[in-house]
Structures are given as structure tokens and as C-alpha cells.
Symmetry: C2
Subunit: 204 residues, 2 copies
DNA sequence: CCTCGCATCCGTATTATCCCGGATTTCACC
DNA sequence: GGTGAAATCCGGGATAATACGGATGCGAGG
């Protein structure tokens, strides 16, 4: 699957001319582009499930690029960000990088460098999404467990024997075995090893 | 344990006056300091097991701060780095941050900010060392296993039963049980769950 | 009101694992 | 050429886990 057909570059800049130039180049390279004239516009219109990356001007009227970055961080939206800037000053650049920006490039933008960096970001986002998708599949299974089953699983993962679990939860060993069976069933696990793996991976 | 007594700030700058001023402030705050006039001097004299952080001037005669950073990355030395600079230019700052610098501060240095950032870095290094120490304790145990035991462990962790493992390795089930026992012994694991956990954590 | 899912319990039978103690081959190191 | 560790094998008995089949109380929702 070509990453260009599944991903979108979100271009946020209040300079319409620059947006058009950048969008032109990206589209020429076969990359989908969505434009926003302001940070706010992006925040409300953006769909976090859409893979892609963010090309963000740092100096904008209204919300600045740094503020937008901060809001995205607060909402745990992990889209890769490339900051664009005209008037480069070091503290701002450092702040943006510390806030997790992948790159920080100065205008005037070099078309080839931009394309290269965008491509890197799209790949990064894609592999990041793969990882989180795997994790969320596990946690989805885990959330299908009842409270009791979850308790039993925690003790199982801690390596305790059924009889010990029974004693600790003050239920019969036979009941523990029942829970264990339905845990394995729901998690589609074929062994205790699988359960431990799923449990550990879901805890990052 | 006070982090200031166990950690050292490595101060690398070819400006002796600045070194003295910075070292004075750090020592006043109770922090150990080791000075180096050049990147090379640091590279040869530095002991990676010593906890601490690196205060690094970026423009130096001989090896530059960026080059030193690169060498440390190549050697997988993960000490936190604060870059200091007089003539700030954005691309260099961005490059340093992308290479993993924790911070990038411009001269003239503000004493209080410097102390705060240094403190953050020392804490970061300390917690990082804790994590890697835990990991290496596990992988140390793992490296104590014989080839055969390691093979058996991999199959155990994959959730296979002893009889299946025996069939796959073409050895008797009883032998698998022996190996299993010595694996548990060497890893100080009390259950299969423990083994899986150690195995997974050692694989990051 | 009745159903359905959850949590609880039970016996029995089979299978797997763990622990006891002992034994052989091979290979490397002294 | 002996010593020792690794890898292999064995039997038997205790303990634990799994599977089959069935049962009760309880609370939420149609």
C-alpha cells in the first residue's frame, strides 16, 4: 500500500500563497493535502483517525503553532509535526523541538527537502499507528473481561496457582478454573504465556 | 540518596572563563563538576558508568559539540546533554535537538535556569540508569542459560506444552522438564508467568 | 415476569507438570 | 587423561491444570 494514498498532509498556515505553493508541490508528488488557514480551524475539523502528518506554521494570528502543539499533546494526539517558520529564533525552535516536533524548517522552503521530511513523517506516523493498533486490539479484548475475570487474570499473570488465587479471592478453586477458562477464551489465548504477553503489552 | 552526591556534571567548553563561572555556580549548589577544554578530552577521559549529564558548548575548536553528540550516539552512550551556545542559529539548534539533546540554552547563561535544567537532566539520567540496570539484570540472567535451555525457554514462552517442545527439539519430555527446571532456577522465576515477563522485558 | 449474563459452586476423569533420585555421553579445559 | 558441566535419558509418585457436564442466586433489561 502506497503511503501517499492512505495518508494526508495537514497544512496549517495563515499565508494563503505559501499554502498554495506547498500544496501544489505535495499534490504533484501524489500526496493528499488538507489546508487550514488557522490553528483553530484545524483543531475542530481534524479527524485523529486519519493517518498523516502536520505541516505547521509557527507564527500565526490567533493560536500560534506552539499553542496548537501543546493542545494536541494535551489531547494525546500523536501526529508527527513539522514546524515551518519564517523568522527563526532559537528559543522558539528549541521549545517546539522539546514539545515533540519532528522537524523545524525555515522558509523559504526547499521543495525537495520538504518532500523528503514529509515522507519521513508519513512513514513514522504509519508505523506508530501500527503499534497502537496492535495495542488497542489487546486492550479491547481485555475490556471484554468482567471485573472478576480481570482480578483472576492479574493473579494468574503474577504467577500464582489456582489454589492460591482461590484463597486470595475467597472463592473456590473450581471457580477460579472457570474464570481462567473464560479469560483464555475471550483473549483467544491458548496458554498462560499468551495471557501474560497480552497483559504486559497492554500495559505498554 | 541526594542526586547531587552521586552524579557529576561534565562541562565541556573551550572557554576557560565560562567554565570557571559555570563550575563555580554548580559547585555552590553542591553538584560535582568535571571540566574538559575539548570534546576529545572528554571522549577519552569520560567513564560511561559515572551518572551525570553533559553541559556542552557547541562551537569549539577541534571537535564541535554536534560531532561529539554524534560520536556518543554511535557508541550508544545515553547521557543527557544540554547544549550551550553563544551564536545561536536555528538549523544548528534543530540539528542538536534532533540528535537527542535535552535542552539548548543560549549564552549568557542564566544561573537559575541553568541549575534547574541541570537538575532535571540529573534526574532523567538517574531514572534512565535505573531502567537499564533492571533490564541488564534480566539479560544477565538470560545469558547464563545454555543454548539448549534458551531454545526450550523460547518455546515455553511461545506457550507450547512440554510434550510439544520435546517433539520439536526431538528430545524426551523428561529432558524438557529438566531444562525447564534449570531455567526457572537460573532466572529465579517461580512460575511460567515470571519467565515470560523476564523474556519479554529483556526484548524491550 | 422471564431471560440472560455474571459469579458462584460441585464431582469426576484425564492430562500435564513438578519433584525425587539416578544414569550416560560428549566435549572442553586443565 | 581426568574432572566437570552440559545435554541427554529414565521411572514413579505427588500435585496441579483442563475438560465434561451440571447447578444456584442475583441483578439488569426486554
Amino acid at each position: 500500500m502506497d503511503i501517499r494514498t492512505t495518508s494526508t498532509v495537514f497544512l496549517v498556515d495563515d499565508d494563503e500563497d505559501l499554502r498554495n505553493v506547498v500544496a501544489f508541490h505535495l499534490k504533484n508528488a501524489g500526496i493528499h493535502v488538507q489546508q487550514y488557514a488557522a490553528a483553530n480551524e484545524f483543531l475542530t475539523g481534524f479527524e485523529p483517525d486519519q493517518p498523516g502528518c502536520l505541516l505547521l506554521d509557527i507564527y500565526m494570528s490567533g493560536m500560534s503553532g506552539l499553542e496548537l502543539q501543546k493542545k494536541l499533546n494535551q489531547q494525546h494526539i500523536q501526529i508527527p509535526i513539522i514546524i515551518m517558520t519564517s523568522q527563526g529564533d532559537v528559543p522558539t525552535a528549541v521549545q517546539a523541538m522539546k514539545a515533540g516536533a519532528i522537524d523545524y524548517i525555515e522558509k523559504p522552503l526547499d521543495k525537495d527537502i520538504l518532500l523528503e521530511r514529509v515522507h519521513e513523517c508519513l512513514i513514522l506516523d504509519s508505523s506508530h499507528r501500527d503499534k497502537t493498533a496492535r495495542l488497542s486490539r489487546y486492550s479491547h479484548c481485555l475490556s471484554g473481561l468482567t471485573r472478576r475475570e480481570y482480578e483472576v487474570m492479574e493473579l494468574m499473570v503474577a504467577g500464582k496457582m489456582n489454589k492460591v488465587i482461590a484463597a486470595e479471592l475467597k472463592i473456590s478453586q473450581r471457580t477460579v478454573e472457570d474464570h481462567r477458562a473464560s479469560i483464555m477464551d475471550k483473549l483467544k489465548a491458548k496458554s498462560i504465556a499468551d495471557v501474560v504477553r497480552i497483559y504486559l503489552l497492554s500495559q505498554y
